[in-house]
């Protein structure tokens, strides 16, 4: 119930295309869903996040779509660029007994071809 399932494991997209990464969760107590971007040799950095009271959040070329009933959320990268090539992790956060716990997905390696 604590897992976050992420797919695909890897993704190759042409420059200008749309990259879509999906995540699914089981525990309905999760209340925060961030996406992290990690470049080789660097630590993950927060890219965009959403709470379950909204169905979509957009920041520039990055959009999170959230489907509460299906317990799924996805990251869409519009007009994908070679500089977007990185590993993307979804995560789900839960507050338990006043503390926070993060569950990360297994990551998606995105390569955008020039």
């Amino acid at each position: 119930q604590q897992q976050v399932k992420q797919s695909p494991q890897s993704l190759i997209v042409q420059k200008g295309g749309i990259s879509i990464i999906n995540c699914a969760y089981e525990n309905t107590a999760f209340d925060y869903f961030p996406w992290y971007q990690q470049f080789p040799g660097k630590g993950p950095a927060l890219l965009i996040a959403i709470r379950p009271d909204v169905s979509e959040k957009k920041e520039g070329r990055f959009t999170i779509s959230f489907n509460k009933s299906a317990k799924q959320f996805s990251l869409h990268i519009m007009d994908s660029q070679p500089g977007d090539s990185a590993t993307y992790f979804c995560a789900a956060s839960i507050t338990t007994s006043g503390t926070y716990k993060y569950i990360f997905g297994t990551g998606t390696r995105l390569k955008v071809l020039a």
Partner: protein, 112 residues
């Protein structure tokens, strides 16, 4: 921009050596974490702390130990390194009531 620092960034050591990976954050965050990550692979939580003198083991069993004597400092120690410890170790922190985890740039450990 997160202010969380890890040293050393890269380390190659021999089997059986003791090593300490340093992690410091200047954001006053109560919560700190250590994750282990093989290149391009998933993140495994190995230790976390919710404040001074508080440390807990994470989801992945690890032979390393941690301490939290000061809010800003969360070092990780391996008493006797083995080749199986070769990995990237990521330190992270978050506010007591914040949902965002901020990561350092990682420490790459190679045990030969």
């Amino acid at each position: 921009e997160a202010d969380i620092y890890q040293t050393p960034r890269y380390l190659v050591i021999g089997t059986g050596k003791k090593i300490t990976l340093e992690c410091s954050q200047t954001m006053g965050h109560d919560k700190m974490y250590w994750y282990q990550q093989d290149p391009g692979m998933e993140l495994h939580l190995i230790h976390y702390s919710y404040g001074v003198n508080s440390t807990e083991k994470g989801d992945l069993s690890s032979e390393s130990t941690v301490s939290r004597i000061r809010t800003e400092h969360f070092p990780l120690t391996l008493e006797s390194a083995r080749p199986s410890h070769t990995s990237q170790y990521l330190c992270a922190s978050s506010r007591h009531r914040g949902n965002t985890i901020y990561f350092g740039e990682g420490s790459w450990l190679t045990v030969v």
